[in-house]
Symmetry: D2
Subunit: 369 residues, 4 copies
């Protein structure tokens, strides 16, 4: 039958296995290790494609105005983020293979590749943009423009112009008003679209005052938990969770251009961390946690990559003209995408000192049964 | 300039990133995880191509009649075998990614793939053949013939017909007559081509009798090292190192069709393990060791693969019609390629009881300086 | 102040770092690698203690008659099982360190250790027992009795006599009557204690007949999904989920001594796998999945351990008198503790063919909001 | 017999398994995760002890005035350094386990540990000192003095006062005068003790002028290999290999207090990298390479450790009063011990442009046979 699938065709191996044309062969100076160099980069790009496939599907779900708690959607998001992190772990490990190429072996063909550079991996830059890295946060902003082709820049710019995963997470957290601003100033009532998800709706109508009470209570407990030398953490606390705190007008919530998460999103995220034991908060907690894991793996990847480049070419200029090591170092230091979530861990208090939740709220955080 | 290399073209990403056509899309029943299924298999096949690149280059060096000790050749062999093992380690790790696909997710597209099967990865089977797995040693011998296309069977058959790495290692060990048969029967003088490598030539003219003495002495030391319940190891010792031992005609050395290493190759390998401290034996020792590492990683790969299949489809028939798990289990148990080298470890004795080497031989095992 | 904690005292490093007394030193034949041998085994035992700490806490929670869905309990169980698996992964990796000890290095002190043997690690055997490995399922049953001290045998026997994790999982699944036996025979009403957990109670009063209908419908869908050569899977299906199926008296449910999970537990587990997207089933699904991961890691550990022993001593008798490799091989093949959960994957059907759930049930599988 | 060894006694498990006394138990506020916290740190300390065992044995060998090439010594050094790196890889992986402890779980007992801190791990600081980290290179120099007990400071100070591995490597490289300073100024004749090792002696009497010629030739080839924007690398080249280059008095060779490797050591190291294919240079090349691997793993450990601390306590003050994250970050950035070896990779040239070696030297770099 003509429709029978064969492994070889299904995987299009004629394409995949015939896509390696070492430059050193063209120069009649065959360098054994160039094949490795090509194949490892192709393997990276294949996996980048898969990471795009995952993040696209995750963002599509998160974009729905009301992520439905009573459907598999949130579970699917968490599952795919976990896969994302699992792939990153293999990508970090893969550097071990690259490190079997010694500097002398690389020199055999290195000059033949100029000015190509790993810096031109537009898929990776597009991925950073989809996750939430903004152009203005990039190290060496203008640099990637000069190195990349117009069509690739356009791809990245387009990704930058759309809602990033980080923005979608922020919106999802904001729709979940677990943590309204404390009194005396009024808690902005949750309004309009995007509010229909259960995590949000079941709580939004809880008495405003009891919620304001909650945050006042929590703030006091937090102050009391601080060691003497940590007392100035309170200022950071107020800024994180109430922007211009203790003043009459806390809006707009994201007035600080450096911030990606609004105060109200931060309150929701902290609430999730604190009360993760309630059924409704279990998957949200996993979601926040896996974002930190992704940041950490991306960071490890950049860091090991930097060490590898350092070992490979020392302080010489990379094939693309960059000082590869310095770029990677700066990127490893600066390109944490979900760093504000990590910072929330500064504002936890001991479980046994947590304010109790009103019975009414507890019920809503539980199962229907 | 037209000759400028660009990352995107150099890696032929137009081919690589456009080689994924999920069947489920064609059936208008898109299954998210099919992309992962395609990409992970493509990543495996890319790495298999790299493994072929390495083993081909290694075999080409090992095929030279006289592997030159005073050139980088042996070092290159060891270096590339180490890379081979490093890649295998990543391939084992990569199974973690596959395991993020749950059985239910697989079912969404599994039936659309029939009768394709990972069993049809001719690159992997060709690789096993190049390393030294013989057709008659394969589990389910006829099976792969029925599953594979003629052109792929031909590729594998061709690999089986050529000198495998295992055979080349055997020949290399035989050319290194460190361990001739003990008296009274005469030590076959090393003859002819393929004997010019230093590891061989420097020793081959050492007095036959002193070498026979060596093995008699070693055999006695070994017997003395055996615990009571191990006494029958002596028989295995004699068979391993002297084939029909203590009889008058130990030839032909590889009369046992199950054996891949001749008695004389085994003697050389054991000698290397025992006296690996001498400069001349350091790289040979590393070479033997890395072969065991490769076998172990291949074995781990099959084993984890089997566990993964078991978790994925339980006891159901695979898409190719095989009971995937049973095949992989049998292959994991049987397909050790370098198992005879591992067995040599049964015949070591304590360092402090090792026979001393004649001064003349010691000099030849050292550096020129 | 006297109450200040110091790292060194807190960790009791005076004990930990002074617990290495190489035998080879006592024999005045110092063997460098014996320190490694001691320390790696101590590191293993430390981690075994931690694994006990986790499994004890998990079992304590699972033992509660009504595991409360509206408390953090199930989440805690899943979290700690994940940690259990994470530790196992490091233990597998740790074998890499052991493999840096060559057979010759081991021989330097191996005989001084007789008859000690890794086989005497009572903590590991106790752990297997706590997870669910029964004495009669052990390879070489009588063997461990002859090797272990009475006090250690007693510890293991005690663990065998108590509810294992596997039994607790079985009871937890049985309390969750998502999958009663199909008609005409009556669904045993959930009775007595241990039934109060939400996952159970919210469903137990759903109409019996609709549940019987469900399983009849599912059984038909499963039959239709089978390929021609898989048709005999139906028998296995009936045995797995209805014990003596289609007969009048399916009780007692665990009449098959080989089975650890009853038919009704298997039905619940399958139901969880099929409908894991519903909020109430998300953590139960994670729980089942992580048990398979634990089995797989334990299996990898035994398998790599076996390969390592093979590489280290070949076919010689271990220091404890065992043929270490054969024991480890048999244990790797036989000691899957949660294998019945893995087998359930043979009985899944495609998501798009799943029977829909009654609206009433859907509500109960969701959140309260 | 009373002398029979038992696993339990041999490993002193009564000590090891009874060295965990959680503070939270003493406070009657048992925190489940404190056991993990204790055990993982004990596991780290056990492995640190093993790393000390390895580095001590390595340094003892390297201290011998004439490391004997015709003995197993250099191979032993390389083997043990490889083990050192293998252990570090597991220590990095072990952070995965720590990361299963969430910040809220840590808070349950964190305050009970003050002011204990991982910073008080004197074994790790002593290890850094033995490898070659000097007090003046440490980030937060005075800091560790204020945190550590006097007896532990003394231990570290003692390690700092002895020859570090880095200094021993420098001396070993200097004894191997493969790379004397180029003319016209005279090549200092290798003198006195410590010069007897073959790698040294076989070359030291080679004609000075031919060696000076070699470096002049290499320097020209290097200049020619530089891209336009790299031209100032020549200055770095001269400084690296000839200290105050092209002047009349290049001595003393280590006048730069920032340098750990003298010019002549750097020349030897570069020579080894360039001509690693010659038998005599194979193990020296492996040795240099594994030192870079060790630096990289230490760096990865600090980096992942930093990320983990960041995730765990955000920007709060650590239990020991430090801002743990900042210290670890600075240490990761600054504490590369073998960084000068990595820098040598900036000064390689393509293999096909390497100066040929005089036949006489080639012979001496080979085997005796």
């Amino acid at each position: 039958m003509t429709n029978e699938i064969h492994y070889h065709d299904y995987l299009q191996l004629d394409k995949i296995l015939n896509a390696q044309s070492p430059e050193s062969n063209k120069h009649h100076l065959p360098a054994h290790d160039e094949m490795l160099f090509i194949i490892i980069h192709q393997a990276y790009e294949l996996w980048f494609k898969q990471l795009h496939h995952e993040v696209d599907s995750i963002s599509a779900i998160m974009k729905k105005p009301a992520l439905n708690d009573n459907s598999p959607e949130l579970q699917t998001v968490v599952h795919r983020l976990n896969r994302f992190a699992t792939i990153l772990r293999v990508l970090v490990h893969q550097i071990d293979i690259m490190e079997t190429m010694t500097p002398m072996d690389f020199l055999d063909f290195r000059n033949m590749l100029r000015p190509a550079s790993g810096f031109q991996s537009w898929q990776f830059k597009e991925l950073e943009a989809k996750l939430g890295l903004k152009f203005q946060q990039r190290h060496g902003k203008e640099y990637y423009i000069s190195q990349l082709r117009k069509e690739h820049i356009d791809i990245i710019k387009k990704a930058e112009s759309e809602k990033s995963l980080l923005e979608l997470v922020n919106a999802w957290l904001e729709r979940m008003p677990l943590a309204p601003a404390p009194g005396p100033y009024p808690n902005p009532p949750p309004t309009g679209e995007g509010m229909a998800n259960t995590q949000a709706s079941l709580i939004q109508d809880a008495s405003i005052s009891s919620q304001a009470d909650f945050w006042n209570e929590y703030r006091i407990a937090y102050v009391n938990s601080l060691a003497e030398e940590e007392k100035n953490n309170l200022e950071a606390f107020d800024e994180m969770f109430f922007e211009k705190p203790r003043t009459l007008n806390p809006e707009p919530q994201t007035s600080n251009p450096e911030r990606s998460l609004s105060s109200s999103a931060c309150r929701s995220a902290l609430f999730i961390m604190l009360y993760r034991g309630y059924p409704l908060l279990q998957l949200p907690f996993q979601l926040l946690n896996i974002l930190l894991e992704i940041d950490e793996q991306l960071s490890s990847w950049r860091y090991r990559h930097m060490n590898m480049v350092h070992r490979m070419i020392g302080t010489r200029i990379g094939t693309g003209g960059s000082s590869g090591k310095d770029y990677l170092k700066a990127a490893a230091d600066k390109h944490y995408i979900f760093k504000e979530i990590a910072q929330l861990n500064s504002f936890l208090i001991e479980r046994r000192k947590l304010p109790g939740l009103p019975r009414e709220l507890e019920i809503r955080l539980g199962f229907a049964g």
